[in-house]
Amino acid sequence: MSTPVNDTPPQSAAGAGTPMVKAEAVHKSYGTVPVLKGIDLRVDPGQVVVLVGPSGSGKSTFLRCINHLEKINAGRLWVDGELVGYRQKGDRLYELKDREVAQKRRDIGMVFQHFNLFPHMTALENIVEAPVQVKGESKAAARERARALLDRVGLADKAGSYPSQLSGGQQQRVAIARALAMEPKLMLFDEPTSALDPELVGEVLDVMRGLAEEGMTMIVVTHEMGFAREVGDALVFMDGGVVVEAGHPREVLANPQHERTKLFLSKVL
């Protein structure tokens, strides 16, 4: 990117053509250890972008920056035309208050590697919690929608079960339903199948494939290359905190251009 970052008005491209996610030279370090060294990325509405790379490449960290679970140290990150975690006045950035950050996270669903369901609540209560607490939805309405969501992920009969009574695959499907209950415009998946037994991976990928077909914008960190090839609109290969290569999944997987991509793919395919 040669354009000076400050020249970009924050809400420049509102309306048609606003990217769902736009990253410009995003840097992030933990103390003195740099994790992201300038990530540029654009995700358009309705796109499914798959992030792959070796562990420690920064792909999960980048995903967590998008909903401000991690603060970026430099660069700019927009979701649906709005800066993530900051407000820009002139050429200065002001950090948003916790309340404002929470407000923006409503529209971004996230699914975690270890599900992170609330163990003291049933599947239904897990899904009802945020719409009632955050959006002030009525309990009756939220319950009705929660039942519909459970039905959609194939768990209509598990409404009253606690997470400890569910298999990993079932827990992850409840977690997806929980995120969808907030009616997000963007879904982030952080290695959603990595903690699952192999025979349970399929049921979660099926739900994700269904979401993609309905037009949900998704960013997925995964090692499931089959999913990337069939469902992904773009594949981004990251290593050492930078984007090494990006393109259509079938092309990148079949014909990787960079040595590091070739080396990585030879190990996972």
């Binding site: 679970l69 996270r105 971004i108 992170n116 369901l117 609330f118 003291h120 609540m121 945020a130 606690y162």
Partner: protein
């Protein structure tokens, strides 16, 4: 067998010792000053624990706050109140009037600014403002808050970080996350030591007799200082303490069971269910949560 013989000898020695004066115990067990003392003890326990638990939760949240002023204030409070004996603190609250005869609300440092009455809008005699009961309550409650703070902090820190992240990712605020997600899970870790603290508090209230507030022990002391029936009255007092701590133990058991939801796949049977199991009548599973009949052999452990 040998134990049974020894126990029988001990019971015999107690029952037949005339110095115990069972008739005196019977007379005073429901004496009005004893039951009044009992009520004061229960009130002190309940209110001191209320101050302790709410103050402790506040201190724990402050202690874990990223704000250095909040966390160091909490640290200092806990350092002082855990580091000095509760009896000393009780005496302090009782004799606060000797330190500051009047407590006022007004212009800070108004006295130095030459204002009349030191700039006070409102002023009250310390001993009137802090009667005996309030001094006792402050002494016990504020001390307890320091201990509860550490218990609550341990509970909060036992909840996985992923829980906070999941709640934040759903757009929940800091306070909603604490209230709805973290604290309910921390309860499982917080409740057992809190039950112990409550039982311990019930007994610690007897220290208040040192500032002559007439709670259970003091009520007994007042009687035996007149009648010299020391041992019988100490037994009367002990019977009441023992009864109250036993009731609290049962209450604690059921509260712990309530907060075990979601942690155990099958809740362990209650003592009542066990008893029924022993008697051969197998109870129905509680509200359909389990298909396993909770009998004696059913996965529970105490």
């Amino acid at each position: 067998m040998a134990v049974a013989v020894l126990a029988a000898m001990l019971i015999h020695a107690i029952v037949t010792n005339p110095a115990i004066q069972w008739d005196v115990i019977r007379t005073y067990l429901f004496d009005s000053s004893i039951t009044h003392g009992l009520v004061v003890t229960l009130e002190l326990t309940a209110l001191a624990m209320l101050i302790g638990v709410s103050g402790g939760t506040l201190l724990a949240i402050m202690r874990l706050s990223p704000n250095p002023v909040l966390s160091s204030t909490a640290w200092f409070y806990i350092w002082v109140f855990r580091g000095t004996p509760v009896l000393v603190q009780l005496l302090f609250w009782n004799f606060l009037g000797a330190l500051w005869a009047k407590l006022s609300i007004g212009v800070p440092f108004g006295g130095y600014l030459g204002l009349s009455d030191g700039g006070a809008f409102w002023s009250q005699d310390t001993n009137k403002l802090i009667p005996l009961f309030v001094a006792a309550l402050l002494g016990l409650g504020l001390n307890e808050a320091a201990y509860m703070a550490e218990i609550v902090r341990g509970g909060i820190q036992s909840v996985a970080v992923g829980q906070t992240e999941a709640a934040h990712a759903l757009g929940m605020s800091q306070s909603a996350t604490m209230r709805r997600i973290i604290l309910p899970q921390a309860m499982r870790v917080i409740i057992p030591p809190t039950g112990n603290e409550t039982i311990s508090m019930l007994k610690t209230t007897s220290l208040v007799s040192a500032i002559s507030l007439e709670e259970l022990l003091r009520a007994g002391q007042n009687i035996y200082s007149r009648t010299f029936q020391t041992i019988p009255l100490l037994i009367v007092v002990s019977i009441w303490y023992l009864l109250m701590t036993s009731i609290l133990t049962v209450v604690q058991y059921y509260i712990e069971r309530h907060y075990a939801r979601g942690a155990n796949r099958v809740l362990p049977p209650t003592p009542l269910q066990r008893l029924r199991g022993l008697l051969g009548r197998r109870p129905k599973p509680a509200n359909g949560e389990s298909d396993v009949v909770p009998g004696l052999e059913g996965g529970g452990h105490l």
